[in-house]
C-alpha cells in the first residue's frame, strides 16, 4: 500500500510557543484517518500544514512521491497547487454565490468551459442529493445542507486528498449521527483518502480506519481504531478514547499486579512487566461488574456508591473504593448507602504507561 501523505519531523511553532513537535506520520492511500485530540493539541494546525494553509517551521511533507514541503530544500508548494479538498469547520461557503456557483467555482479557476463546469457541478450535486438546491444561496440552507455543499465543492475537482476540519461539530446531535453515516458512505463511494480532525472520540472510532491520537503537539499513539480502543498504550490514550478509569500505581513482584497508592493490588492480564516500575491500570466503566462470588480471575474491592445517574437502560455509578474513585456502568442500580463488592476482571484491566 502506498502512502498518500508522509510527514517527517514536521514541527510548527508560533514564536516561542511550540504547537507541533517532530511529527512523523504516514497516511495510506484510500484510508480514512482521524486526527483526534482535545482542543489545543495541535490537530487543526497539523491539518492546515498538510493543506498548506499554514507553513511548518521544520520537517518535510510529501504527497505520494511528490515533495510538497521541505524546510531544508526551501520547497513549499502553495495551497492552490496541492490539489486538496478542504472542508472548513465554518464550511466557508461563499455567501454571494449560489450553491451551483460555489460548487462550479473551483472548475472555473481551472478554466473549464462554462457548459462543462456546470455539468460537472450538477453531477456532483446530484450525487450528494443536493440537485434541488442548486440555485439557492448559502444562507437559505440548513446546517446539514451547508455541510454537504461544502463537501461537494471540495470533491468536484477530484482532489488527491480530502481534509475535514471538524465538519460535524456545527450540527445538532441527531443530524450529526446521520451525517456521520453519510460521510462514511461518501468515503467508500469516492474511494478517496480522507483526513478528519475531531475532538469527538466516538466520531473518530465510528468513522476511521486509522486514528492518530494527539496530545500537546506530539503523537500519543496511532493505529487502527480498534487497537487504540482495546490496547491504549498510555493512561492519556485510555482516558481520552473510551473514557477509562485509570488507577496509578507500581508494578508488583509478579510483574502482573499493579499496587495502587492505598496498598491494594489490581490483577492485570499479561504480558508481565518489570517489577517495581511505575505503571497504571485502565479499566472501562462497563467492564466493572458487581461481584457475585463466582467471578474468575480479577480483583474484588469494596465500593460505596456516591452518585447514581440514570442514562436510560444503564446506570452510571460513581463511588469510592480503596483504589480511589471509580466509575461503573451497570444495568442495575446499586443498593443505596451500603458497601458492596465490585469485580474488576483481569482481562479488562489494561496495563498502561502512567
Amino acid at each position: 500500500m502506498t502512502n498518500a501523505v508522509q510527514l517527517r519531523q514536521v514541527s510548527k511553532s508560533f514564536g516561542p510557543v511550540t504547537v507541533l513537535d517532530g511529527i512523523d506520520l504516514d497516511v495510506p492511500e484510500g484510508s480514512f484517518t482521524s486526527l483526534l485530540g482535545p482542543s489545543g493539541c495541535g490537530k487543526t494546525t497539523l491539518l492546515n500544514l498538510i493543506g498548506g494553509l499554514d507553513r511548518p517551521t521544520g520537517g518535510e511533507i510529501g504527497f505520494g512521491g511528490d515533495l510538497i514541503y521541505s524546510a531544508a530544500q526551501a520547497v513549499n508548494v502553495p495551497t492552490e497547487k496541492r490539489n486538496v479538498g478542504y472542508v472548513f469547520q465554518s464550511y466557508a461557503l461563499w455567501p454571494h454565490m449560489t450553491v451551483l456557483q460555489n460548487v462550479s467555482y473551483p472548475l472555473r479557476i481551472r478554466r473549464l468551459p462554462a457548459a462543462e463546469r456546470n455539468a460537472k457541478a450538477r453531477e456532483m450535486l446530484d450525487k450528494l442529493e443536493l440537485g434541488a438546491l442548486a440555485d439557492r444561496y448559502p444562507f437559505q440552507l440548513s446546517g446539514g445542507q451547508q455541510q454537504r455543499v461544502a463537501i461537494a465543492r471540495s470533491l468536484v475537482y477530484q482532489p488527491r486528498l480530502l481534509l475535514l476540519d471538524e465538519p460535524l461539530s456545527n450540527l445538532d446531535a441527531q443530524l450529526r449521527e446521520r451525517a456521520r453515516a453519510w460521510l462514511k458512505s461518501v468515503h467508500e463511494s469516492f474511494g478517496l483518502t480522507v483526513i478528519l480532525v475531531t475532538h469527538d472520540q466516538a466520531e473518530a472510532l465510528s468513522l476511521s480506519d486509522h486514528i492518530v491520537l494527539l496530545s500537546k503537539g506530539h503523537i500519543e499513539q496511532q493505529g487502527p481504531a480498534l487497537e487504540i480502543y482495546e490496547r491504549p498504550r498510555t493512561a492519556y490514550a485510555a482516558e481520552f478514547v473510551g473514557s477509562a478509569n485509570v488507577i496509578p500505581g507500581r508494578l508488583a513482584a509478579d510483574g502482573l499486579s499493579v499496587e495502587a497508592a492505598g496498598g491494594t493490588s489490581v490483577l492485570t492480564a499479561g504480558p508481565p512487566g518489570t517489577p517495581q516500575s511505575a505503571a497504571a491500570v485502565a479499566i472501562r466503566p462497563q467492564a466493572i461488574r458487581f461481584a457475585n462470588g463466582n467471578d474468575g480471575a480479577g480483583t474484588i474491592v469494596p465500593f460505596v456508591a456516591k452518585t447514581v445517574l440514570y442514562l436510560g437502560g444503564l446506570y452510571e455509578i460513581t463511588g469510592t473504593t480503596p483504589l480511589g474513585e471509580l466509575r461503573v456502568l451497570s444495568p442495575n442500580a446499586p443498593p443505596a448507602d451500603r458497601e458492596i463488592q465490585i469485580f474488576l476482571p483481569a482481562e479488562a484491566c489494561i496495563r498502561v504507561e502512567p
Binding site: D24, L53, G65, Q73, V77, R82, W94
Partner: protein, 583 residues
C-alpha cells in the same frame, strides 16, 4: 500505516521528487516564497512614509535658520525662541486653552445628555430627533460658522430683531466665549456618537439583571448604564480637546473680526502671509503637533484601542427604552428647541440668505429676494472652476483613497502580526496632525522632495493632502468590516486552486462592497468639505469650494458665500445622511 519507528530520515532520500511547476533552483524557490512578504513590507513602509510626510519637513524646518529651499542652513533653536517671545503667539496659546476647555465642556455635556435622552428614553419622534441632532456632522463647521455669524453675530438678523423688538441684543458672538460655544455645538454630535456606542457596548443582560432584581427601567439606566459609560467620559474630553485645537473655520470666521487668535488661526495668518517666516510657522506647527500628540496618546491610554469608538453610525440599541408617558413630550420639545436654535434655523437662514441680496428684520423679505448670488457664482469662471475642482478632488481623490485604504486593510489583516501593527500604527498617525499642519507640511514636502515641484499647484497635491488627513477615518471604517469577514472563505478559494489575488478579487472584494461604498462616500463628503489642508496648497487654478468660501467671506461677500454653501449642502448632504444614517 507504520508506527513511529522505521521512517526513513528524509523523503528526498526515500526518492521523493519535486512536483511539476516547482523551480529546481533553491534560490528561486526561496525568492518565490518571500515575494508576498516583501511586497507587503514595501507597501507598509511606503504607507508609513506617505502618512508621516507632512511632519518631517516641518520638524526639520523648525530647527534650521533659513527656508528649506535655501542653501547654507544651520541648525538652531532660534525659531522657537522667536516664537515664544512673540506676544501674539503667547496670547494665541492662552486663547487656545480656554477655547478648548469651554468647547470641550459644551460638547461633552450636550453630547452626554443628548445620548442619554435619545438612546435610553422612549421619546416621541426619537429617530427624527436623533438624525437632526447629528446633522452638524453632515454640515461642515465652515458652513455652520458662516450661518451662525450671519444670524447670531453682532449685526446679524437675530441680534437686530431682538434689539428692535425686545430692546436687548445677543451677547457678542465674536468673542472667545462665542466661538468656543459654537465649536462645542458643532462637535457635540461626535460626543453623542461616542457615548451612544459606549452604551451599545454594554451587554443588555447587565440591565436585564437589574430589572430582574426589581429595578425600574429608569433606575436601571441611572444605576447601571450611567456608571458604566463613565470611563468614556475621559476619552470624550481628550477627543474634544483634539477637535477644538484642530478647529480652523470657527476661530477664523467668528474670532477673526474680534481679532481673537488661537493657534490654528495664528498658523493660518502667518502661513498665508505674503512674506511668511518659514522658521516661525514651522515652529508654531511643531508646538501644535506636540500639544495634539499629548491628547492623542492620552486617548490611547484612556481606552486602549483607538478604533473601538471611532466608527460612526453607532450600534442601535435593541433593548427596552424607558417609558416616559407625557413627560416625554416635554423632553422631546426641549431637544427640538436646541436643534432648531443651533442647526435648523441657522441652516435655513443661510439658504434664505443665498436667495436674497440683503436680509434685515427692518426690510420686508419679498423686496430683497433674488437669484443674483447664484448667477454670480455660476457666472464667474473662477467659482465654477472651484466647484469642478472640488468634484474632481472628491471623486478621483476619494476613489484613490478608497483603493489605498483597501490595500492597507488587506496588507494589515492578511499578514503576519508585525506588518499588521505597522500598518495600523501608520494609519492612525494623521489623527495627530491638525488639518492646517497637514497643509503646511505637504507644502514644504513638495519643496524639498525631488519631483515635488511637479505636484505643487496641481489638484493631485490636494488629493494627497486630503487622503493623508482622512486616512484614519476611512481605515477605521473599513478595518472592522474586513475583520468581520471569515478568512476561511478566502482560504477556501486557495484550497480550491485559486492564487491569493484571486481569493481577494473573487471573495473579499464582493463581500466588502457595502463597506467600500461607505468608505468612498465618506471620503467624498470629507474631501468636499475640507478647506484647512487646502489653504496652503491651492494655486491659481486649483481653488476648491472651501477655500473660495473662506476668501469670499473675508472680503465680506456674504451672498455668494451663502450660495456656495447651499451648493455644497445640496451636493453633500444627501450622501452624508446616507452614510451616517444607514443603520
Amino acid at each position: 500505516m507504520t508506527d513511529n519507528t522505521g521512517h526513513s530520515a528524509s523523503l528526498i532520500a526515500a526518492g521523493a521528487t519535486l512536483p511539476a511547476g516547482v523551480s529546481s533552483s533553491r534560490a528561486v524557490r526561496r525568492l518565490q516564497a518571500a515575494a508576498p512578504l516583501i511586497l507587503r513590507w514595501a507597501f507598509a513602509l511606503l504607507l508609513l512614509a506617505l502618512l508621516i510626510s507632512p511632519m518631517l519637513p516641518l520638524i526639520y524646518q523648525s530647527f534650521v535658520n533659513r527656508p528649506l529651499y535655501e542653501a547654507g542652513k544651520l541648525l538652531t533653536l532660534g525659531n522657537f525662541t522667536k516664537l515664544f517671545a512673540d506676544p501674539s503667539f503667547q496670547s494665541a496659546c492662552v486663547n487656545t486653552f480656554w477655547f478648548a476647555v469651554i468647547g470641550t465642556i459644551v460638547s461633552t455635556a450636550v453630547g452626554f445628555v443628548a445620548a442619554l435622552l435619545l438612546e435610553r428614553l422612549d421619546l416621541p419622534g426619537r429617530k427624527t430627533l436623533k438624525i437632526m441632532f447629528l446633522a452638524p456632522i453632515f454640515v461642515s463647521a465652515l458652513i455652520l460658522a458662516l450661518s451662525w455669524s450671519m444670524l447670531y453675530g453682532p449685526g446679524g438678523f437675530a441680534d437686530i430683531w431682538l434689539r428692535a423688538t425686545l430692546k436687548f441684543g445677543l451677547p457678542n458672538l465674536n468673542s472667545l466665549g462665542g466661538m468656543a460655544v459654537l465649536s462645542g455645538v458643532s462637535s457635540a454630535p461626535v460626543s453623542y456618537l461616542l457615548f451612544a456606542s459606549a452604551m451599545g457596548n454594554i451587554p443588555g443582560t447587565l440591565e436585564d439583571a437589574a430589572r430582574a432584581a426589581g429595578a425600574s427601567p429608569m433606575r436601571a439606566t441611572l444605576g447601571i448604564i450611567v456608571p458604566l459609560i463613565r470611563p468614556s467620559l475621559l476619552y470624550c474630553v481628550l477627543l474634544n480637546f483634539v477637535l477644538n485645537i484642530d478647529q480652523l473655520a470657527v476661530p477664523l470666521i467668528i474670532g477673526g473680526p474680534a481679532r481673537v487668535q488661537v493657534l490654528s488661526t495664528y498658523l493660518y495668518d502667518n502661513g498665508i502671509a505674503v512674506k511668511s517666516d518659514y522658521g516661525l510657522v514651522s515652529a508654531a506647527a511643531v508646538v501644535m503637533l506636540i500639544m495634539i500628540q499629548v491628547f492623542v496618546v492620552g486617548q490611547k491610554y484612556a481606552l486602549g484601542d483607538l478604533r473601538r469608538y471611532t466608527t460612526v453610525g453607532g450600534k442601535s440599541l435593541r433593548r427596552g427604552l424607558v417609558p416616559m408617558g407625557r413627560a416625554g413630550w416635554t423632553v422631546s420639545a426641549l431637544i427640538a428647541l436646541y436643534i432648531v436654535l443651533t442647526t435648523l434655523v441657522p441652516s435655513l437662514f443661510l439658504v434664505l440668505r443665498s436667495f436674497s441680496s440683503f436680509i434685515s428684520p427692518l426690510v420686508p423679505i419679498t423686496s430683497v429676494l433674488t437669484l443674483d448670488n447664484f448667477k454670480l457664482v455660476f457666472g464667474y469662471e473662477a467659482y465654477i472652476r472651484s466647484i469642478i475642482n472640488t468634484l474632481i478632488v472628491s471623486i478621483v481623490g476619494g476613489l484613490g483613497a478608497t483603493v489605498l485604504t483597501f490595500i492597507g486593510g488587506v496588507v494589515a489583516y492578511r499578514s503576519p502580526p508585525a506588518i499588521k501593527r505597522l500598518v495600523e500604527m501608520s494609519a492612525f498617525i494623521p489623527r495627530a496632525i491638525p488639518g492646517i499642519v497637514v497643509g503646511i507640511g505637504i507644502f514644504y514636502a513638495a519643496i524639498i522632495f525631488p519631483g515635488g515641484s511637479y505636484l505643487s499647484g496641481t489638484l493631485a497635491i490636494l488629493m494627497i493632502a486630503f487622503t493623508i488627513r482622512y486616512y484614519p477615518t476611512g481605515f477605521a471604517l473599513l478595518g472592522p468590516s474586513m475583520l468581520q469577514i471569515d478568512q476561511d472563505m478566502e482560504r477556501a478559494v486557495r484550497v480550491a486552486g485559486g492564487a491569493e489575488a484571486r481569493s481577494i478579487i473573487a471573495v473579499l472584494l464582493p463581500l466588502l462592497r457595502p463597506a467600500l461604498v461607505g468608505c468612498f462616500l465618506l471620503y467624498f463628503v470629507s474631501f468636499f468639505k475640507e478647506y484647512a489642508a487646502a489653504s496652503f496648497l491651492f494655486g491659481p487654478n486649483t481653488a476648491v469650494v472651501g477655500t473660495t468660501m473662506l476668501q469670499l467671506d473675508m472680503m465680506g461677500n456674504l451672498g455668494p458665500t451663502a450660495a456656495l454653501s447651499v451648493v455644497t449642502l445640496v451636493l453633500t448632504l444627501p450622501i452624508a445622511i446616507f452614510v451616517y444614517a444607514r443603520d
